[in-house]
């Protein structure tokens, strides 16, 4: 019985466990992560254990922007067009060819004829039409939203079994790229009849696509099992690997705690993990594991200055904030080399990027001078004031973005040196959702958006899209800067890539000249995998692709 436990042993156990806990901090976690032996031909078979940070919420494709959703969608659904993640070129996939009219209001796609969904129904023109009728128009009765990537969609027309036409009310030059994104994953006609509830977590096995994997098992909130489709034979023609996926299956396990995800990988309990925090990268690399940091190829991780707010309506204040933030120090302190310093609103790898680094110079003397000129004078506690008002600004903590709070804390310290009081809004979801739509409560909005198309800049700043600058005041729908609106509309109405790139350049020039945006860094998604994991790839906004993955062990 418990009463008879000899005490010395008890004390010994206590002492041992204390010692073990202390050792845990300093023990060497190096394990056989990588095998430097030559990589042979791909081996078919095996199940990969992939650790996710969060549980997926919903598999309605337009909701696939949320990383866990997109990570699943990319395995189970094919798209009309394939976007090469390196070159960002658009290449055939389910569609063998496509053409558009001169005004970009009509598109015709020709489809492969050998593709089936995993429930056996053919992926034909009627099925494709039904997909885009839903994604392009949404269905408010079923709470299914319009895809952010598809603009001005009107209707579809099935010409014959392998030809489908789409019509738009206004030019929609980004449409071909939109058909390549995970938010346009093709699902079987029956799946498209589901309501938002039917697409929700717990119903994974009902979501039928034509992709290389199908969902075969689910434990709500913790685990999803995917199995390879034996008869898959329609990978993008430009990809070397054809036929079925190498893996037999993928086990996606939700492991929210960062240290547990990293520890599981290092101790050999998992094969791949998503979301390696910047501070953990060194540890993972030191143990000989591969770190992958694919770029999101869109609008950079930035601070958006809401210029309609009283304080920020003065361009000198905006320029002073830009000059007062040492972006390089933020990256060196909080992030790693996988987070390149931003040189424009758009990422260097985004379509339409132009270098604006000449406008992004750290210069505290200039910042101080600009604030002096703008009438903000230093007071006793070092924070500047003007007509009794303190120079206090609020920025939101962008919880989905890596180490947002740490970065903002450092920036707040930097700005304090030039007499600006930057406060960070950290709040419950409801308060947060209301506050970020109100320039009186959040004057600086921290966010990014990834999409490898010229349209991405419009998504971020246009009045009826993300509207992050609050150029449209949500209270009265008035527009503060009509010129910005016009420039953004041009991005979505020009037809040729050259014209669209020129329109993107004008927007970037304007944002830089007005100092509306302080771009911080080009945001990657950071993954890690054991050395024996081969062929791990990513689509154009850094969602994982398991089609080519094989286990060299």
């Amino acid at each position: 019985m418990a009463l008879r436990i000899p005490s010395p042993r008890f004390a010994a156990i206590l002492a041992l466990s204390t010692a073990a806990i202390l050792l845990a901090g300093c023990a060497d976690t190096r394990t056989a992560g990588s095998d430097p032996a030559a990589v042979g031909a791909p081996i078919t078979g095996g199940t990969a254990v992939y650790l996710e940070q969060q549980t997926y919420t919903n598999l309605y494709p337009p909701a696939a922007g949320f990383y866990p959703n997109g990570g699943i969608m990319n395995q189970i659904a094919d798209r009309l067009v394939y976007q090469d993640p390196e070159t960002l070129e658009l290449e055939p996939w389910i569609a063998t060819e496509w053409k558009t009219n001169e005004t970009a209001t009509e598109y015709t796609f020709t489809l492969r004829s050998d593709v089936t969904f995993s429930d056996g129904t053919p992926l034909d023109a009627a099925a494709v039409a039904k997909n885009f009728d839903l994604y392009g128009r949404g269905d408010a009765d079923r709470a299914l939203t319009v895809s952010e990537a598809i603009n001005n969609y009107d209707h579809s027309e099935v010409v014959d079994a392998s030809t489908v036409k789409f019509f738009f009310s206004k030019p929609s030059p980004g449409f071909v790229q939109a058909t390549s994104t995970i938010t346009s994953g093709l699902l079987s006609p029956k799946t498209l009849d589901l309501t938002l509830e039917g697409f929700g977590a717990g119903n994974g096995e009902d979501i039928i696509g034509s992709g290389p994997f199908t969902i075969t098992g689910e434990k709500i909130g913790t685990e999803l099992t995917l199995a390879a489709r034996e008869d898959y034979a329609w990978g993008p023609p430009s990809v070397e690997h054809q036929g079925r996926a190498y893996l037999d299956g993928i086990q996606i396990i939700v492991t929210p705690e960062d240290s547990v995800r990293v520890g599981s990988l290092l101790s050999g309990q998992a094969d791949l993990i998503r979301a390696v925090e910047a501070q953990d990268e060194k540890q993972v690399e030191a143990a000989g594991f591969e770190v992958y940091a694919p770029q999101t190829n869109g609008v950079n991780n930035s601070l958006n200055l809401r210029f309609r707010h009283g304080i920020l309506s003065d361009i000198r204040v905006r320029q002073a904030l830009l000059a007062g933030i040492n972006r390089q120090e933020v990256i060196d302190t909080i992030y790693t080399a996988n987070y390149p310093l931003a040189t424009s609103t758009l990422s260097k790898t985004a379509l339409g990027y132009v270098d604006e680094s000449a406008t992004l110079v750290y210069d505290t003397a200039k910042a101080e001078k600009l604030l002096d000129e703008a009438g903000w004078t230093r007071t006793g506690d070092g924070i500047r004031t003007k007509n009794g008002q303190k120079l206090t600004l609020v920025v939101n903590e962008a919880a989905p973005q890596p180490r947002s709070f740490e970065a903002l804390t450092l920036i707040s310290q930097q700005l304090a040196k030039i007499g600006v009081d930057l406060q960070i809004l950290k709040a419950d979801a409801g308060t947060y959702a209301e506050a970020i739509q109100d320039a009186d409560r959040v004057q600086i909005y921290h966010s990014i958006v990834g999409r490898a198309d010229y349209d991405v800049i419009k998504s971020q700043y246009y009045s009826t899209n993300r509207n992050v600058l609050l150029n449209r005041n949500p209270q009265d729908n008035s527009i503060g800067d009509p010129k910005l609106e016009t420039l953004l509309e041009a991005v979505a109405s020009k037809v040729t890539p050259a014209e669209r790139a020129a329109a993107d350049k004008e927007v970037q020039d304007y944002l830089a000249a007005q100092a509306y945006v302080i771009p911080l860094f080009e945001e990657p998604q950071v993954y890690s995998a054991a050395g024996y994991v081969q062929g791990f790839g990513f689509e154009s906004v850094a969602r994982p692709s398991f089609y080519n993955v094989w286990l060299n062990k």
Binding site: A2, A27, T29, K219, I220, T222, E257, V260, L266, N477
Partner: protein
């Protein structure tokens, strides 16, 4: 019998109050789940599209009508749908409830075992030299953050020693570390109360009498002192079931386990009212049932309470 009926009646009132209270509080919070989900700039929806969705969800229906819908829904077993994922709340809860109940039950048993061990060991004369250490254990346990404890246990037993995997553990393995994580902080107040009661009881005159009659110390402890010391401990145990639910939130997140705690954490993060309402109600039911059982156990453990408790009000 009438006592039990009266207690059941009270339980129903408590549940109704919990339901109404949580409904009102969730409505009073700034924002709502629809705002959080659909007006999130990340979705890039236009104001018209958002308005259409709000209408389809019936967000503009007056509050009393919404309350009535929710209440009648709950009574008929329809808990609605999670706004965040769209999944039926019934499915969400049914899937995770057994896991959490198992974790909580084993966690509680382990906590009792720990508490009893500490309390009785620390009264043994032969262990006098470690009494100080044993008696300070509860203070240590209660101040250990669950979050930290879970991570340390995983680091040591899973990652360093490789004894228990956290990824794909066997059914037996998967409970060991989470149960330990949950049990240690819960055992602290139990051990404190138990130690105190044992000390108090040992000072009672009847103990001296029993000892004088030749009973061994173990006999006195197990037969006489334990039963007397159990009562206050039982009261605390009833209250601690709330701690179990709170502890499960952290434990399940650290260990990546499915469970009510994890569900709660996600629902709170997205202000997912239907899920939160159900969680509150399920927790209230568990709380009410456990405390009812505890109250009914009093007379069984201590015959002195039978008449008092059994008397009509």
């Amino acid at each position: 019998m009438s006592y039990i009926l009266r207690r059941l009646g009270q339980a129903v009132i408590v549940l109704l109050a919990a339901f109404t209270g949580s409904f009102l509080l969730l409505q009073a919070l700034p924002g709502d789940a629809l705002l959080i989900k659909f007006e999130n700039p990340e979705l890039g929806l236009s104001p018209d599209q958002i308005a259409a969705i709000r209408e389809s969800y019936g967000a503009d229906i007056p509050l009393p009508v919404q309350f009535w819908h929710a209440l009648t829904g709950f009574l008929s077993g329809d808990f609605g749908y999670s706004v965040q994922s769209g999944t039926a709340v019934r499915d969400l809860v049914a899937e995770v409830l057994p896991d959490t109940l198992r974790l909580a039950a084993f966690g509680f048993l382990a906590a009792v075992f720990l508490a009893v061990s500490i309390a009785f060991l620390s009264t043994f004369p032969r262990l006098a030299w470690v009494r100080g250490v044993l008696r300070s254990l509860p203070s240590l346990f209660v101040s250990v953050p669950v979050f930290w404890l879970g991570i340390v246990l995983i680091q040591v037993f899973s990652f360093q020693l490789g004894l228990i995997p956290v990824i794909n553990p066997s059914p037996a393995q998967e409970l060991i570390l989470p149960v330990l994580t949950l049990a240690i902080p819960i055992s602290a107040p139990l051990a404190q109360i138990l130690t105190r009661s044992v000390d108090d009881t040992l000072l009672q005159p009847f103990v001296a009498v029993v000892r004088a009659k030749g009973a061994s110390r173990t006999w006195v402890l197990t037969r006489n002192v334990a039963t007397n010391a159990l009562l206050p401990t039982l009261t605390i145990a009833g209250i601690l079931c709330g701690e179990l639910i709170a502890g499960a939130v952290v434990t399940e997140t650290v260990f990546g386990r499915a469970g009510l705690g994890r569900l709660t954490e996600q629902a709170v993060a997205h202000q997912d009212t239907p899920v939160l309402q159900t969680v509150v109600l399920v927790s209230a039911v568990v709380f009410v049932v456990v405390n009812l059982v505890v109250d009914l156990l009093y007379p069984v453990l201590d015959p002195r309470l039978t008449r008092k408790a059994g008397a009509p009000a």
